[in-house]
Symmetry: C2
Subunit: 666 residues, 2 copies
């Protein structure tokens, strides 16, 4: 289902231009228009008509902030033409703790982007097809599963695939805005809606500063995703920076026009947010299109394009989150599996982790966008702040290096722009935190420090291991004593003979250990039979060869667990032979079919685990396999692609030169 595995060499670094860059990196930002204004309106709804009138001013503040972010990220792209993600910028300029704060905020932001994108997309769908309302959560989870599978498969051609719905969305809403603005002007500011939006709710709260702050905080979600271009500069075709700049400009200008237009038209047509939890929910975009253009074919095309880009905006997270996790894991702050490329050349662990986290969030909040929004903007704006603050430090360093340069005034301007960005975004963070704390913002506030503590603990664990493993001593070539070999034996059979033969290759000090009374109190041990066979098959030929036969010893396991007496024996041997290795040789039947495991008591596996775990540093465990059925060809252990790969083994061990394999190559 996920396609054939891909080889390392197949990871091609295709580059993109502006036309592909807008859909690939602008989806998250552009799709915010679908929930940002709505989020502000659903707060303002409490003040009724007065609230609606306040949407314009609130949106003006948001657009001003957007302009500041635009200027700031313009500079970040210039300064970090490879990858200017908040994590990298903070790490470069603010140190480890700040970068971890950025990483934690970004991770939470990514998870929420996925959850909000999907839930808002389903919101658009439910607006168009109200009969689907009861299935909001299952629809959300279904879309999440599809996105996860698509991303596990790898989305190398995603950019092109995403272009159609993105440009369709922009075109549709450009038409809506033009028609709507024209109608508004023609009617003197009071256009008649084609399909009337639901009656605005009664005011239940006076319009005050607190309400305005909360509306601003919710509306800020409209700006999320602006940072995407700065994260992906290295994806652009040369001249890289200029392509990225133009892409950023297209995205931000389009976003600004859409946001402003939506705010203007919502005010003009008297469109308010409705409650997504209630049947009859109509998203703001749906009301807007209905009011301006009616509910004809155009309506469905526009809503379908909105649904598409919302779901695809969730895809931004599936691209960004695993890459971020990989960077963090390479720095040792996340478990190593996050840094491992899966069979389709994607970071599968990160994708799965994101899917599970977003799924849990969707399930916990019932797939309702409005409930997720309070958690959302905090992470995004913290990321903005960290990135901008990092840039301020970056320009300070640059200034320090160019004491006499003529460009100093320019760098002062750049520093000032990023400082304004940092200041405004931190103010926004504070506003958002204060305004949304009770509605769910506290979850993000609690989650971020927890994530940082976890990241640091993981790094500390890896550092501890590395410190203990570090080794400056050379290999010791002094001859050491041969190991003491213990062989577990149940009865005399081919498996036993094979194990003993190999044991004698290792050492002359071989002891076979039979563990008795494992099956319970009533079972007569087959001790005598084993002793007789031993005398016949082991001791008699030893006399003929004048060799020392392996000893046979019996251990009793009164609690029917093999490993307790065995570990005691090992401990005793270690005490008496502190300078020797104890090799525990465990003959094992190899099982190839799953049901064979049901038919076995799995003693070999359990004994191996126990000896490895508790045996101590002088023990090694040797597994001697015995194949019940002939071992399958090694091709079965690999994919067709791996089997077709030329045998690298031919190039090593001097095979090519037909030397004896134990002579050295160089």
């Amino acid at each position: 289902m996920l396609g054939r595995p891909l080889a390392n060499r197949e990871g091609r670094a295709s580059t993109i231009g502006v036309a592909e860059g807008v859909p690939a990196l602008g989806l998250d930002g552009l799709s915010s228009t679908a929930y940002g204004p709505e989020a502000a309106l659903s707060v303002l709804a409490a003040a009724g008509a007065a609230g609606l009138a306040a949407l314009g001013p609130v949106m003006l503040v948001i657009l001003a902030l957007l302009a500041v972010l635009f200027a700031s990220y313009w500079q970040t792209i210039e300064a970090y033409p490879k990858s200017g993600g908040a994590y990298t910028v903070a790490q470069d300029n603010l140190g480890v703790n700040a970068s971890l704060l950025a990483a934690a905020a970004l991770m939470i932001d990514y998870v929420l982007t996925a959850a909000v994108g999907i839930s808002a997309g389903v919101g658009a769908l439910v607006s168009a097809a109200p009969s689907l309302h009861p299935f909001t959560l299952p629809l959300c989870l279904g879309i999440l599963v599809v996105l996860t599978l698509v991303n596990l498969r790898g989305t190398t051609d995603a950019g092109r695939l995403f272009a159609l719905p993105t440009y369709l969305f922009i075109a549709c809403f450009a038409i809506v805005l033009i028609l709507g603005v024209f109608a508004a002007i023609a009617s003197g500011g009071h256009p008649r809606p084609v399909v009337a939006p639901p009656a605005p709710p009664k005011a239940v709260e006076a319009l005050g500063l607190w309400l305005l702050l909360r509306a601003f905080a919710s509306g800020c979600t409209a700006m999320t995703g602006v940072e995407a271009v700065s994260n992906g500069v290295d994806a652009f075709r040369e001249p890289r920076v200029s392509s990225a700049h133009r892409t950023l400009a297209v995205i931000v200008v389009t976003l600004g026009i859409l946001l402003g237009g939506i705010a203007f038209l919502a005010t003009a047509y008297g469109i308010m947010a409705t409650d997504q939890t209630q049947p009859g929910y109509q998203s703001v975009l749906s009301q807007l299109v209905g009011a301006v253009a009616g509910r004809g074919a155009f309506y469905y095309v526009a809503i379908a394009s909105a649904l598409c880009i919302l779901c695809l905006s969730a895809n931004t997270s599936f691209v960004g989150f695993p890459r971020l996790c990989r960077m963090v894991a390479q720095d040792g702050f996340l478990p190593r599996p996050f840094a491992i490329v899966g069979r389709r050349l994607v970071y599968s662990v990160g994708i799965l982790y994101l899917a599970v986290a977003a799924g849990l969030l969707l399930a916990a909040f019932g797939g309702i966008t409005d409930r997720l929004i309070p958690l959302y903007a905090i992470g995004a704006f913290l990321t903005f702040t960290m990135s901008q603050a990092g840039m301020v430090m970056h320009w300070r360093k640059e200034l320090g290096q160019r004491r006499r340069s003529r460009e100093r005034p320019w760098f002062h301007v750049k520093l000032a722009i990023n400082a304004v960005g940092a200041t405004t975004t931190i103010v926004a963070v504070v506003v958002i935190v204060v305004a949304k704390f009770i509605q769910g913002g506290w979850i993000t506030i609690v989650a971020i420090p927890c994530a940082i503590v976890l990241l640091k603990a993981i790094r500390r664990y890896y550092d501890g291991i590395d410190a203990r493993l570090r080794d400056d001593r050379p290999l010791d070539y002094h001859r050491s004593k041969p190991p003491i070999v213990l062989v577990t034996v149940r009865e005399w059979n081919r498996l036993t003979r094979k194990a003993l033969t190999f044991a004698r290759e290792l050492s002359t000090d071989v002891t076979a250990v039979h563990l008795a009374a494992l099956e319970g109190p009533d079972v007569k041990g087959d001790e005598r039979r084993l002793r007789e066979r031993w005398a016949e098959a082991v001791e008699k030929p030893a006399r003929a060869h004048h060799a020392k036969p392996p000893r046979l010893e019996f251990l009793s396991a009164p609690y029917r667990r093999i490993h307790a007496p065995f570990l005691k024996l090992i401990e005793e041997l270690e005490k008496r032979n502190p300078d020797r290795t104890i090799a525990v040789l465990i003959p094992e039947l190899v099982k190839h079919r799953w049901w064979e495991h049901l038919l076995s008591a799995r003693r070999a596996t359990r004994l191996r685990s126990a000896v490895l775990e508790y045996g101590g540093p002088h023990v090694v465990v040797i597994n001697v396999p015995w194949y019940v059925t002939p071992p399958p060809s090694i091709e079965e252990a690999m994919t067709q692609e791996e089997a077709r790969e030329p045998t690298h083994a031919r190039n090593v061990l001097g095979f090519r030169r037909r030397e004896a394999p134990h002579t050295q190559r160089r």
Copy 2:
């Protein structure tokens, strides 16, 4: 929760007398009174009042059959004073196939005994407390869980614990019968009920032979459990056979009186079965006690005792099923784990298996006794038949051995009795199969041959392994070539040094293999660093010691999976060195805490599995552990009891005599 582990020596063989034997082995039989007559009545209910009148004759036939079974098992106890289970008797006298048929029938019977006992017990509870009716299935599953836990813990004192409810049940229903019969006689056969039973349903079917046959088939469930004494003869105190005989007599006579009495009173009071699936359900016993003695304190004591013995009768399965499975597993027809005594000296696997099977049955049939009954009697009566037929063959053999003995006439009588038993029970089986086929009997009919096929397949699998493992050749003492050792290496560290040191103990032909490009295409290999450290730490000291240093080779894994290129290397080496062992040495970090596994890519474990599974017969895998934290004391790997156990290791390997451990003991 399950208590401390028990040592083999703690498995005490306590013996019982008649007074303990009746509760311990009679529960299954006596509790059948609670559902047997009811099962017959619920069939007869279709014929209304005429059906009720037919209960007496049907019950008389059942009592006659019970008498035959009594005589037959009396003889089985005499002939098999150790254990006369149907499996043993059939195996001794009828061969493997018959014994497997008996085993399959018995297993199904045991599972159904557990399910029916619990569902009938809950039926009694629901009759007394109708508000619990909606919770029938959860109550059933709850009781099943409690029984499972109690049995996993081991029920050494079960016999004594079971005595109280058993004798209470007998006493209560003796009083009911005496009062009822007295009232019936005093009133001239038409006693007035204290609490009137529900009005009998309208007749929907004429009373015909088919209905009578079905009623008989259902009523036969009243006889299940009679075989228990013959299974457990070895539990009795000496004189064993006479104790067992007296116990069997007490059980069968009590059962007969109860069955006859219930049939008589049900007819006299006009008591009919009601539908357990409907609210307002009243079990026949509940109606009977209500009609005879009213719904006072006595009613609740009687119903409580019925509930207890029904649930405890399910316990009979928990004792019998695991022991049967163990016998079958020892003969190789069931997976070996069934024969392994668990930490509490019980056959835990069998207990769990029974619990799961009974739970699935209860869930599938909603915990309704009436739906389970059609499946039930078939297994039980097949078991009876197999046992009786086996006894017939037994007496024929005995007769063959005593051609001139004076006792021959006696043996002819014995043979005749068992032949009558075998004939009547096989007739009953046919009747039951025909009568219950559609209602669910087919499930048992299908399940039994499936089970036999499965049992034989398991035996064939084990036989196949044994045949391949059997070995008559002695150990080969000719000196063989030392193994080719491959060591997996990631970087130079203590783990690598330890592994290489041990590798050099094994052979001079050591190759370190570094697998590159595992993390994905973008990761720069640290090949050069490793080569430099290798020259420094391995090759330089080798020159100083004039030793041959281990080689270092690089393998590339283009699909990022370690095992494919590694297995190809092994295959190549095997082709070139068909006479040598290839030892794959895998250094491994030992993880003691569960979360450490999350932090690791588990490459060592995965490589070990792949090499063991596909490496072929010339490969052995050596695990060299390295402890991140100091290895915990071996006491942590064992229970307190195991740690307190005297160290047997002191007795082996000549420790006691203070010999050097590698000199031989004898």
